[in-house]
């Protein structure tokens, strides 16, 4: 029997007066590795926030592991968009990753247990950043920051990982390194990843979901040029199973 990790039913959501997502339905099954793609401002981050209960849907229902997201979100490892991290903050890498162990903490006089420290060490070495542990957050590179954020999410010991553009700002080799790591992690947990790296994901993810205000497609990672046109409004160098379409040529015809 397949288990639903995330269940989104007829969800409409937005900020203030403007709807960002309109009538979205999406099921994420246990063990899947889903890539979410779509244009800027298409609502990808918003979708992740809905899954975490950070924002409430206007209409429809979001369920995480069968419950209200607020009840179960401590079972999820969230890797936010790196640009949201305050790199000036006086905190060491080890402390950042340790904060992943705070789930279910008591607010007053909380102390980390010995097991917490061990889990953090494991996460750090798994991401190959154990040697950075005592550095300040402001003293690491973008690629290293991405690893730190993933290590923090793994320290939660999650049933599911949610990643928001984890390869943004990484070079090609660091990106593929990261994807391979995620693929390995996928043996243990469900993964949902927002990305703009559309050319590469078809090689790694099991499913893709295309979001632009509504869900255009969810399924195997091969989609038609028509769908891409519909999704992005213009042809994009994309997927289509290893047959990339040239962006420049097609744009050239218009100018």
């Amino acid at each position: 029997m397949t288990e639903e990790m995330v269940e989104i039913q007829n969800v409409t959501a937005g900020y203030g007066q403007t709807a960002v997502l309109d009538n979205v339905n999406l099921l994420i099954e246990k063990g899947s590795f889903t890539g979410i793609i779509g244009p800027n401002g298409g609502g990808k981050t918003t979708l992740l926030k809905l899954m975490l209960g950070l924002i409430k849907p206007w209409k429809g229902q979001v369920k995480l592991l069968g419950y209200n997201p607020r009840k179960k979100r401590h079972c999820v490892g969230y890797v936010p968009q790196a640009s949201t991290i305050n790199m000036q903050f006086p905190i060491s890498i080890r402390q950042v990753v340790l904060s992943g162990r705070l789930a279910g903490m008591k607010p007053f006089w909380h102390h980390y247990r010995h097991s917490d420290l061990k889990i953090v060490d494991q996460c750090l070495s798994r991401l190959d950043i154990l040697d950075l542990a005592e550095r300040q957050i402001g003293q690491i590179s973008r690629g290293q920051l991405q690893r730190v954020l993933i290590a923090r999410a793994l320290a939660v010991q999650p049933a599911m990982l949610l990643l928001d553009e984890p390869t943004n700002g990484l070079d090609a080799s660091a990106s593929s390194h990261l994807y391979e790591l995620l693929q390995k992690l996928n043996d243990e947990m469900t993964i949902i990843m927002v990305t703009h790296d559309t050319l590469a994901i078809s090689a790694y993810v099991k499913d893709i979901a295309c979001i632009n205000r509504s869900l255009y497609y969810h399924g195997e990672p091969n989609i038609s040029q028509e769908l891409v046109l519909e999704l992005y409004g213009c042809p994009v160098d994309l997927i289509a199973h290893g047959v990339p379409h040239r962006v420049l040529e097609e744009h050239g015809g218009i100018e």
Binding site: G16, L52, G53, L54, R70, R73, H74, V76, Y78, P80, T84, I85, N86, F89, P90, I91, S92, Q95, V96, S99, G100, L102, A103, G104, M105, P107, F108, W109, H110, Y112, Q136, G138, R152, V156
Partner: protein
């Protein structure tokens, strides 16, 4: 100077007062700077003026009404912000003068000769009383217990609010306590630097301390030491040259910060020219 201190009770009070103020200053100043709540704190400080006016109007010791007023407004601000998403800046721009305006209205409604408010606006550390010290000490104790008690939560909240929320941490509690503590800090500092000058004493020590890139707890400790230094030096200057103590403290601390940054700049120029 030492013999003077032994001789004059008011100087003893002043010195104990600066040390008590430094504790609040270092702890909350650090939080405020890291969470970028500096202007917010300025706003909360100015609402305290409304409370002082209310105190005169009701004929209660103004410091108590100021405490109540600023805690109340800090909580309302936090609440409005969370619920409505009004831009922070705009909100501050409204309640900052609102607090002052209420203070003025209350004072003008107060029967009799209008009281002198300057000691609350600019601080007057040389007139600090034993009662003031007891209040300051009690409030300090609340701050120390709260900050050490929720330190891990506080650090998580300050560093990454969204992740902490996603982790199911009581972020709203952390935020609420932070705002209450800001209000308390303002009251602790009122006697030393006054409402108008509070901001400098809240920013400069942690801003200097964080240049050494230590962790949050060390910044707090360092900021306490630095603000004690600024306050004592300012006190000395004010006594020596007979200028207002709050002004002396603010001018001295900003001056030290500027000199320090200038030295850093010169040093970086020097090192670069060597390559």
């Amino acid at each position: 100077m030492i013999s003077l201190i032994a001789e004059y009770g008011f100087l003893q009070n002043a010195i104990i007062g600066t040390l008590l103020a430094s504790i609040a200053c270092g702890l909350l100043g650090t939080i405020i700077v890291e969470k970028k709540l500096v202007m917010m704190s300025g706003g909360i400080a100015h609402t305290a003026f409304g409370g002082i006016g209310l105190g005169y109007f009701l004929n209660i010791e103004p410091i108590y009404t100021a405490l109540g007023f600023s805690v109340f407004s800090a909580l309302s601000i936090a609440c409005i912000q969370r619920r409505s998403g009004v831009i922070n800046d705009v909100l501050i721009g409204m309640f900052w003068p609102l607090g002052m305006a209420l203070g003025i209205v209350f004072v003008s409604l107060t029967p009799g000769y209008p009281p002198d408010m300057t000691s609350y606006l600019f601080g007057d550390i040389l007139t600090i009383t034993k009662t003031d010290l007891i209040i300051m000490g009690g409030l300090d104790l609340i701050l120390i217990i709260t900050v050490t008690g929720i330190f891990k939560l506080l650090q998580a909240y300050l560093f990454d609010e969204e992740f902490s929320t996603a982790l199911g941490l009581p972020v709203v509690l952390a935020e609420t306590l932070t705002y209450i503590m800001i209000a308390i800090t303002v009251i602790v500092l009122i006697r030393v630097v006054g409402i108008i000058l509070v901001l400098a004493l809240l920013c400069v020590p942690p801003a200097l301390a964080r240049l050494f890139k230590p962790n949050l707890a060390v910044i707090m400790g360092l900021a306490i030491v630095l603000s004690a230094f600024f306050c004592l030096a300012g006190l000395g200057l004010s006594y020596e040259y007979n200028i207002a103590s709050g002004a002396a403290i603010v001018i001295f601390s900003v001056f030290v910060y500027a000199v320090f940054q200038l030295l850093r700049y010169l040093r970086s120029l020097f090192f670069r020219s060597n390559f």
